[in-house]
């Protein structure tokens, strides 16, 4: 059974600081997703990482994937208040290589609070 662990579960940080959220998973997969969720809202797709060594950046967020270590990181640079949210990583456990069959196993999320 695929297990996805995120740490930390809670993170409180000051504006302007840098930090990293870690996502470890237990079985082989080449597809990893990062989502953002605001309270009472749905999941917003941030990054889709599809191969070992993949790195993607959008604004102050950068995600990377190491499939050999079964580890992904979400790095936050110079945090600002509007990045406060819960961040989930999710791993595709589907054994089918084609898209459209994604069966995502989510971590429990990292609740990020940016303090002004």
């Amino acid at each position: 059974e695929l297990k996805v662990e995120q740490n930390p579960l809670f993170l409180s940080m000051q504006e302007g600081k840098n930090y990293t959220i870690y996502c470890n998973y237990s079985t082989t997969s080449d597809r990893l997703y990062w989502y953002r969720q605001d309270p009472g809202k749905s999941l917003e797709s941030l990054f889709v990482l599809l191969s070992n060594g993949a790195v993607k950046q959008e604004g102050r967020l950068m995600a990377s994937l190491d499939t050999k270590a079964r580890l992904s990181t979400l790095h936050i640079t110079a945090a600002v208040h509007d990045l406060s949210a819960t961040y989930f990583c999710a791993v595709d456990s589907s054994l089918i290589s084609n898209f459209g069959n994604e069966k995502l196993t989510f971590g429990t999320g990292t609740r990020l609070t940016i303090i002004p």
């Binding site: 996805v4 597809r31 997703y33 989502y35 809202k41 749905s42 999941l43 917003e44 797709s45 889709v48 599809l50 989930f88 999710a90 084609n98 898209f99 459209g100 069959n101 994604e102 069966k103 995502l104 196993t105 989510f106 971590g107 429990t108 999320g109």
Partner: protein, 112 residues
């Protein structure tokens, strides 16, 4: 519509009642997924469709849960004889075979 639409947004049911939750995917999206999100947890996979075919229902927690997508577009998740442990947010997502899933805002079910 521009995004995945779900209804109702909120549903309160008495234990033992049947409920039906609707999902309108993004137009043209082939794949449709249902997830269940308990309070404070990450979403958990329930089932998915490609067009009208239900290809995986391994995540449905019991035979009280049933999903359909008869014409390959709108999907309905039905829960029979609801129990308190069914209380959760039910999320629908669709995709266009690009590897990216788009989620709706969910239907929050509370069973009293």
């Amino acid at each position: 519509g521009a995004g995945v639409s779900q209804s109702p947004r909120y549903k309160v049911a008495k234990r033992g009642q049947d409920v039906a939750l609707r999902c309108d995917p993004i137009s043209g999206h082939v794949s449709l997924f249902w997830y269940q999100q308990a309070l404070g947890q990450g979403p958990e996979f329930l089932t998915y469709f490609q067009n009208e075919a239900q290809l995986d229902k391994s995540g449905l927690p019991s035979d009280r849960f049933f999903a359909e997508r008869p014409e390959g577009s709108v999907s309905t998740l039905k829960i029979q004889r609801t129990q308190q442990e069914d209380s959760a947010v039910y999320l629908c997502a669709s995709s266009l075979l690009t590897g990216e899933l788009f989620f709706g805002e969910g239907s929050r079910l509370t069973v009293l």
